[in-house]
Subunit: 224 residues, 2 copies
């Protein structure tokens, strides 16, 4: 189909290195002429690339302005995963087990690398969580803390998958937060500090045990 022409073209340009992150795609009219397809097909292909986090189009841009190549892998996977969780074809229990698998591995690796920059970023997030009792803000920081730990593990693919998983389940987690939030918030704060302390002490096994108990405990409480 015609819109696949745009995807194949952009993929080939990326593989060949003729197109890199930060580069601008040619305008709609130019691309249509170059690929011999309609401008409507070009526009559809551009939308798909945008939804996959491969390009970003500036808001309010005219029909001939270009789109910029970005590298937001997680955004692309997030949208796909979220829609599939919505269709209930992926059970939440499978998400929980996948999180435990990726995060126990992640904190072990993080304890091995002890990446100062990421661990400092994680601590700043925990400090911000100490200062809020608002459920939604707390959970947003919570998700960001877990994603930061997965970045500290030093694997881009796992970090992208983790970011996507967290993004995909955000709505569910928010929906199951208990009305009496403060005791839960206190428990989560303590657990997060203990996980980070174990990583900073280089004790990967302890960090893995703590993070597994932390994730499984939250879902058990939420009865998911």
């Amino acid at each position: 189909m015609q819109r696949d022409t745009v995807l194949s073209h952009v993929e080939a340009e990326l593989v060949a290195g003729r197109l890199r992150v930060g580069d601008r795609l040619p305008g709609e009219r130019a691309l249509a002429a170059q690929l011999g397809i309609s401008r409507a097909s070009v526009r559809e292909g551009i939308r798909v690339l945008e939804a996959m986090g491969v390009i970003r189009t500036a808001a309010g841009s005219g029909p001939d302005s270009g789109a910029v190549v970005v590298a937001d892998t997680a955004a692309g996977i997030t949208s796909a995963l979220r829609l599939h969780l919505a269709s209930s074809t992926l059970p939440v229990a499978d998400v929980v087990r996948t999180r435990v698998l990726l995060e126990t591995w992640g904190v072990r690796e993080a304890a091995r690398h002890r990446d100062r920059e990421q661990l400092d970023a994680a601590r700043v997030l925990l400090d911000a969580m100490d200062r809020t009792d608002l459920v939604e803000e707390f959970l947003r920081l919570d998700a960001e803390f877990h994603v930061t730990l997965s970045r500290a593990a030093g694997n881009g693919v796992v970090a992208a998958i983790m970011t996507a998983l967290r993004g995909a389940i955000h709505g569910y987690v928010l929906a199951v937060a208990p009305d009496d939030w403060l005791p839960t918030a206190r428990r989560l704060r303590r657990q997060h500090r203990n996980v980070l302390a174990a990583i900073e002490a280089g004790d990967g096994e302890r960090a893995a045990r703590l993070v597994a108990r932390h994730i499984e405990g939250f879902y058990r409480m939420a009865q998911l």
Copy 2:
């Protein structure tokens, strides 16, 4: 943006259970009227949903025919991952480590479940690989064998990620296959049989050791 209206609408319908796998979306014209947006915006939204594996539109369908809800999670993630690997923002080494992580876990789980149907399907694939010396066909069956093992682990999220990873790297694996293929094919056949035998014997630890050596060996040979 207008096309996001279609995505949000479909997601909400899926969550509410008003839209299920196998259902048909309303036609373009009806959706445009219902959501108060242009038909061009509806069409762009539909293309994005299709690229994410959430719906399938029949080839040659008229402008008013509907699209069917499917649940091809892996297809959506595959496209996103492949494009990001193409842009070299995800190093292949990270893919290898992610495969080892997911597949060692997968064969351990598979050895615990011993899902007769999936293991029989895996054996049929190995038999087919014994009968071909064509690199491309061999590697297609090879990818399918690994995906089948991950299905035997009984986790839909991990299976979708694995399928996506395999789909995303297919081109790379094909490109690095050695010219003198037969010795490699013989080695891979033997390794696959040993992994499957360990799973069938219920020896998850041995299966995990063998599959890690198998994956790392292939990439080492390919010098990726």
